[in-house]
């Protein structure tokens, strides 16, 4: 029983980060209908930027964090402006492929920097482990999980109560109608890419703080996309729940199945889960309910 609870908790912590990444992908998909493969790189470069400012330039932590966020936001904005905006009005599949091209481009740069190894960011989240009976939670993971939840809360409030949030929701529904009411949809696209890049950046920095910048870090983008699909692609709560479910499933299969089959199942769990869910619910767990009046 303790082992089960421990796996559950570890899964929850990891799942929070998957959820953030998925949310960043959902944000872009909701407003632009582009499923982005590029976000794995945005996440990875969030961590790389922090590495540069913190470990190479030895800037104070707060300044390094701010600069890393700014650089990642700029990266999101540039991707939108240079590769996706010119494709507005073209088939969405072209946009999807372009995000793949962006992934490959940045992967080249990423591998040049990491050189197939690992970069270590000075760990700035609290070290040590919290104990509750026989259960253990690393303090750093707990911090980033709480940060993820807070970020979800902020996103939710922003969408519901701010003018920009209203513009984002309106453009997500109908671009032409949004423009007819005076919303600049292009401006909305830029805003959403910046917000989305910031969210991915938080996920990247938090991940790097736990696992360092390993050369496969950008591939987390694929997992993020899977979680987003799983949650319904358009649903922020779906991303949260999907991410947590994935984290828990991965840990359970690592804890119970890997010893039986001799390891390696943790990674496969995600894909099996997605296939099963999509067989039963083709639009994901929280796929958008279409309003139809008869």
């Amino acid at each position: 029983m303790t082992e089960f609870l421990q796996l559950l908790i570890s899964g929850l912590m990891e799942g929070g980060l998957y959820a953030l990444l998925a949310a960043s992908i959902v944000l872009v998909y909701k407003s632009t209908q582009v499923a982005s493969l590029a976000h794995g790189q945005i996440l990875a470069f969030g961590a790389i930027f922090l590495y540069i400012f913190l470990a190479t330039l030895h800037l104070p932590l707060v300044i390094a964090l701010i600069l890393a966020f700014a650089a990642t936001a700029l990266m999101g904005l540039l991707i939108e402006r240079t590769t996706l905006r010119p494709l507005i009005g073209q088939p969405l599949f072209s946009s999807f492929l372009v995000t793949f091209a962006v992934f490959m481009l940045f992967d080249g740069i990423f591998q040049l920097i990491v050189k197939g190894g690992t970069l270590t960011i000075p760990h700035f989240l609290p070290a040590g482990t919290l104990h509750a009976g026989a259960l253990m939670v690393p303090a750093g993971q707990l911090c980033s999980f709480i940060a993820a939840l807070i970020l979800f809360g902020i996103l939710g409030l922003m969408f519901r109560y701010t003018k920009v949030g209203l513009g984002l929701r309106a453009s997500a529904e109908n671009h032409q109608l949004a423009r007819s009411t005076g919303i600049s949809v292009k401006q909305i696209f830029s805003i959403i890419w910046v917000i989305s890049a910031l969210v991915a950046c938080v996920a990247g920095i938090a991940t790097a703080n736990v696992t360092d910048i390993y050369y496969t870090l950008p591939q987390m983008g694929i997992k993020g996309l899977i979680v987003a699909l799983f949650g319904g692609l358009e649903s922020i709560p779906g991303a949260l729940i999907g991410g947590i479910i994935l984290g828990i499933l991965e840990n359970l299969s690592a804890g119970y199945l890997d010893p039986v089959v001799g390891g390696g199942l943790k990674e496969v769990a995600a894909y099996i889960m997605l296939l099963l869910i999509l067989l039963i619910k083709p639009y994901g767990l929280f796929g958008l309910v279409r309003i139809e009046r008869i």
Binding site: G89, K163, L166, G167, R169, A170, E173, N174, H175, Q176, L177, A178, R179, S180, T181, G182, I183, S184, V185, I291, R293
Partner: protein, 264 residues
Amino acid sequence: MLNLKNIEVIYSDVILVLKGVSLQVPEEQIIALLGANGAGKTTTLKAISGLLHTELGEVTDGSIEFQGDRIDRLDPERIVKCGIVQVMEGRPLFEHLTVEENLMVGAYSRNDKPAVRNDLERVYRYFPKLQVLRARTSGYLSGGERQMLVMGRAMMAKPKIMLLDEPSMGLSPLLVKEIFKLIKQINEQEKVSILLVEQNARIALDLSEYGYVMENGRIVLDGPSLKLLENEDIREFYLGLSDKGKRKSYREVKHYRRRKRWLA
């Protein structure tokens, strides 16, 4: 105030839809734009509001001026800021937003927050039903409620001109009457000019000061609405009346149509 000079519109670089349309909308007036299906009425409105750009359409000749400035190259969101709002055909809403959120989206181009709140109250005074439904998800509204909501949303932009595309479509005669009464009120009390596209020629000409009739991408007839109501051809085609005021059978109208065209 709004002046279309001989505009030509082409969709997708090849489909010529408007072939030299000129019309004026003076300050604080209601102008009717009539015409059969496919004549190009909606296209004319989209040319004015800039929404053509979102459909691969382009004004390729002529000009559109609003208060002396050319607007035919501007983005739709800029044109809303200038004070021209189009209420699109079919009453499209942001279906997942509530009624009040839809109204607030209408004010997106404005930055005068206190005035926006005032205007929200004002819209609710014109359409008390919307106030009752303010928290309702708009996708579930009825046709009449939708029509009120799209008009209220347009008012929230504080426009100088409203372009209304077939507001009577699919509504009961009683509701049509009510909607048109409200259009008149908005025109008079808010000092908004209205360019009204309608299939219901009778009610449109009753309401408007001046009317244009469109066929095949051209204006074929225009004049003061009272005059148009007496015009032979209008009575035949749009009001379904013969000289003696009797209803003509559809067969006869069609027969007549074959015999005589405005543009032979």
